[in-house]
Every structure is written in C-alpha cells, then in structure tokens.
C-alpha cells in the first residue's frame, strides 16, 4: 500500500500541534498508519531508541515510508498510541524488578482497556514488545484484578488453567505422541508377563 493511500488514524484530535512538533508515522502489520508525537513516543523505550537511531528530519518523516511495526495489528497499535498520547510527558516508572507492584489504574486507562480479553492479551504483548513500562503495569494489573473474589475453581476458568487431571492427560498424550514405540513395548511387556514369560528379550 502506498503512503498516499494508507488510512491515517488520528490518535488524539486534541493533540494536533499548535506549535511545530515532529509527528512520526508508524504502520501496523495490517497497513494502518498512525501519526504519533515525538513526546508520546518517549513512553516507548523501543520506539524512542528506534527514532533516535533513524535521526529523521521533519521532511524525512513526511517523505520516507512510515516505520513498520510488523508484530502488531492496527487495532492494538491504535490503543497503544492513544495511551502514549494521553500519558506523554509523564515520568516513566523504573522497573527495578522488585515485587510486589502496587499499581492504580487511572480512569482514562480503565476506559481504554474496556475491551475484550483477546485485545487485552495483544495489548499486553505490545506493551512488552514496545517496552512501555506503565502501560504494561496497568494492563497486567487489569488481568491480575480478574482474580478478585474468585475461588480456585473459578480462577481455573477465568485464566483457562487446566486441572490436575487435564494436565496429566495432556502430558500422557504428549508422551505417547512423542514415542509411540514406547507404548507398544510397554503393552508387549505386559502381555508377556500375563503369559508367564521369564524374559522379555
């Protein structure tokens, strides 16, 4: 798809620059194009490094092809950039690896993440891929909050976790699929034992 024909999704109407600011163009894997402010990009460590390395001028941004983000679809990327525009200029939390994480979900983020869980799954994946620390924080917190007030059986259903029995059955099936001969040998051995044979070989 040519740059001229690409659908342009305005991420944040209010964010249209009054003063001259650089807006980068990105393209999702389903060829949707997004214009994102330089300040919003800083929320993503991955994209920030990328644009720094590219060293584009204002003319380059307009004339060169949009930067392709091949792992993320347009629907997800739209959410990501909406989030980045809303939180542009905010300090990026430092993830020191310590636990637990105390995270409050702001109202804007809660509304943004009022989406189906398939899309939420992709949003978490994208936040991690693009290294957007605070978006990863709030999206993971949303998933963590699904556990509220649930019993172990309900949590199995919420998080689609197999029961011990299902897990055992899956393991057996995997073993058998991996080595069907081992199962045959075992059956042969049992049969010979039943027949009173002294030696298997």
């Amino acid at each position: 798809m040519s740059v001229e024909n690409a659908p342009v999704v305005d991420v944040d109407e209010a964010a249209i620059p009054v003063e001259k600011k650089m807006y980068y163009r990105f393209e999702s894997n389903d060829k949707k194009e997004f214009r994102v402010s330089e300040l919003a990009i800083q929320q993503s460590e991955t994209l920030n490094r990328l644009v720094e390395a590219m060293g584009y001028t204002s003319e380059d941004v307009e004339n060169k092809p949009a930067i392709a983000i091949e792992n993320i679809d347009g629907k997800t990327l739209k959410l990501v950039f909406q989030w980045c525009e809303h939180h542009k200029g905010e300090a990026i939390p430092v993830d020191d690896g310590s636990v637990p994480k105390i995270v409050e979900i702001p109202e804007f983020d809660a509304k943004l993440m009022d989406i189906d869980n398939g899309l939420l799954f992709k949003l978490i994946w994208a936040a991690d891929y693009l290294n957007i620390v605070q978006l990863l924080n709030v999206s993971c917190k949303k998933v963590a909050n699904m556990a509220q007030g649930k019993t172990p059986a309900q949590l199995r259903r919420v998080y689609l976790l197999p029961s011990d029995e299902e897990d055992e059955a899956a393991k057996r099936a995997a073993q058998e699929a991996q080595d069907p001969r081992a199962r045959e040998v075992e059956e042969e051995f049992e049969e010979r034992k039943r027949q009173g044979g002294n030696s298997f070989f």
Binding site: I124, D128, A147, K150, Y159, L161, P162
Partner: protein, 333 residues
C-alpha cells in the same frame, strides 16, 4: 459470565508481570487451583514478611506481606468430643483479606492436613519461619497436637489462654528459637519460670499491665536472664543500681539492651556509687541508633564502662523508662 483470559499463553515475562501485580490473597487462592498453578505462583517470587499462627478458639495463619497487604487463613476444626481438640484436618478454611471488609472465601481441600496448609503457604511465599501466639481460649486445643504441628516457632507470644496450667505447659514445651513475649499476669507471682529466663533468646519481653508500681520482682530474675535484648517491668531503682554494679563486674555478658518500664527513675539513685560520665552529643547519636523505643527523648544520657572495657549508654526518659544499651561500635576517644 466471568471474563476469561489465557494466562498461560502469555510469554513468561508478561505472565510474571501479571502475577507480580496480583494481591497476595488472590495468589494464594490461585495457587490452590492446580499443581501447575502452584508452580506458577511460586515462580512469581513473592516473599511473605512473616507468617504468624495464632491459637485462640480458632486457629489462624496470618500471612504478612509488604505494606500490610496480607491475608489470613482461618481453620475450621470441629470439636467432636469433650476432650481438647486435636489440630487435625480442617473441615474447611476461610480466607480473609487483612485490610478490607470483603466476604471471606471458604475453601475445602480434602487431602490437606493442617501442616499441609502451612507448608503450602510457606512454599508459595518463600518463607520458612512462623511465630506462634496463644491467646484466649487457646487451651481448647490439645497441646501435644499443637506441638506436633507448629513446634519450633521463631517467636512465641503468650498472652494467656485462660488456663494457667496450660500456659505453663506451653512455656515448658514450646521453646522459640529467637524471641518470646510473655504477659506475666498469667504467671505465678508474675515471675517467668527460671527455665524460660535462662534461654539464649535474641529478645525477651515480659510485661504485666498498668498496675505496675506495686509489682516487684527479685533481682535474680534479671541476673539469670540470658537474652540479648530484654524489655520488662518490676524492678526498682535500687535493683537497677545493684544490677549495673554486677554488670560492670561481668554478669549478663550477652546483654545488649535492657529496657525497664514504668518505675520513676532518677540518674543519681540508679548510678549511685558507679563511675559514669555524661555522653557527648556525638556519643548520644551513637546511642540513639540502638535505642529500643522509637521517639524516646533522651537528655543527659550517661556512659558506664565494665571491667573488660565494654561501654554502655544509659538514659532515663521522662522519668519512667530506664534504657541501657551496650555501645558495640563505640569509638573510644
């Protein structure tokens, strides 16, 4: 219909990110969902700050987490006869969040004995130690059975089960590894047994109640105490003066801090016949580092020195606290 989220399909880092943002009570409940869920929760590496077991009418495990975000597991063990209850498989457990008025979640796990519940908690929250508190009506549980399940706590707190004979048996049977807190109201003459005093605890705390001025304990109780830190009551200025003279000559070599409460003290009486000097401002700062009570106002703290060269700081706060601390990192000018 509840939401569904394929947690296991998330890459490892993101899955851990979700678990690290989950409240501890939810992690605990999730860990009971399956063996795989237990492994998953354990991998989140959440560490409990402490696990406290309290034995009252109901046995409760309290899991204390960072910033008070803990929860409690109450074990429902039914009484089946007039005999003291054995600490045996609970009919169900109720799980309650510490800081909220949320409805408790009742759970059953048929195969779990009491010890299994505790081990599960230890395993997923990477703890090995527990403290043990006996409170009101704790004597309704068979002590042998309590010992069998919860022996070797690092801390024992005995505030009185309401059965003096049972309380003495607790003191005899359950020897904590690190520290003990006793309400001496439950003890005969308010005196802890000698066997308890002579233990090498890190901390020994023995209080009575507000009726303190009349409570007198023999100096021997202090001289035979072998703990590093002692907080107690019941000693007069004369006792303290005698004790300090004996400490200078070499008694209580393990003692690092002593706090005696609720007797009006005066430096002149406490230090009568003992060579001492006023701690300088700098020395006072060193002393403050070791002070047991936060916010204690110390003025005119004194220094005494024992015959082997060990230095201790002494302060009397608002006339009612006597505070003695061995200054280990003391820079001898």
């Amino acid at each position: 219909m509840p939401p569904k989220f394929p947690l296991l399909r998330l890459p490892n880092d993101e899955r851990l990110a979700v678990l690290r943002r989950m409240e501890s009570i939810h992690l605990f409940i999730l860990s009971l969902a399956s063996k795989q869920a237990k492994i998953l929760v354990t991998s989140a590496n959440r560490k409990a700050e402490a696990v406290a077991i309290s034995i009252e009418r109901i046995i409760q495990f309290s899991c204390h987490m960072f910033q008070g975000a803990g929860f409690a597991v109450k074990l429902s063990i039914w009484k089946t006869s007039n005999e003291p209850r054995k600490v045996e498989k609970p009919k169900y457990v109720s799980i309650l969040q510490n800081s909220r008025r949320a409805k408790p979640i009742k759970l059953k796990k048929e195969e779990y004995e009491v010890k299994d519940w505790l081990d599960h908690l230890f395993q997923i929250f990477h703890q090995k130690d527990h403290s043990l508190t006996f409170g009101r009506h704790g004597s309704c549980y068979d002590l042998d059975s309590v010992y069998e399940n919860f022996k070797n706590p690092y801390h024992l707190r005995l505030s009185g089960t309401g059965n003096a004979e049972y309380d003495y048996r607790v003191l005899k049977m359950i020897i904590p590894r690190s520290s003990i807190l006793l309400n001496s109201r439950i003890l005969e003459n308010g005196r802890p047994p000698r066997d308890t005093l002579i233990q090498n605890y890190d901390s020994f705390v023995c209080y009575k109640n507000s009726q303190l001025l009349s409570w007198k304990r023999p100096l021997d109780d202090l001289l035979c105490a072998n703990s590093r830190e002692i907080e107690t009551q019941g000693f007069s200025e004369t006792d303290i003066n005698k004790f300090l003279k004996l400490w200078i000559r070499g008694s209580n070599p393990r003692l690092e801090s002593l706090l005696i409460l609720n007797v009006p003290f005066d430096y002149d009486n406490v230090l009568r016949g003992i060579q001492n000097c006023v701690l300088s401002g700098d020395q006072e700062n060193v002393f403050k580092v070791y002070t047991v009570l936060d916010g204690t106002v110390m003025t005119g703290a004194r220094e005494i020195r024992r015959m082997d060269g060990t230095v201790a700081g002494i302060s009397i706060d608002t006339g009612f606290f006597f505070n003695f601390i061995v200054l280990k990192d003391y820079d001898d000018h």
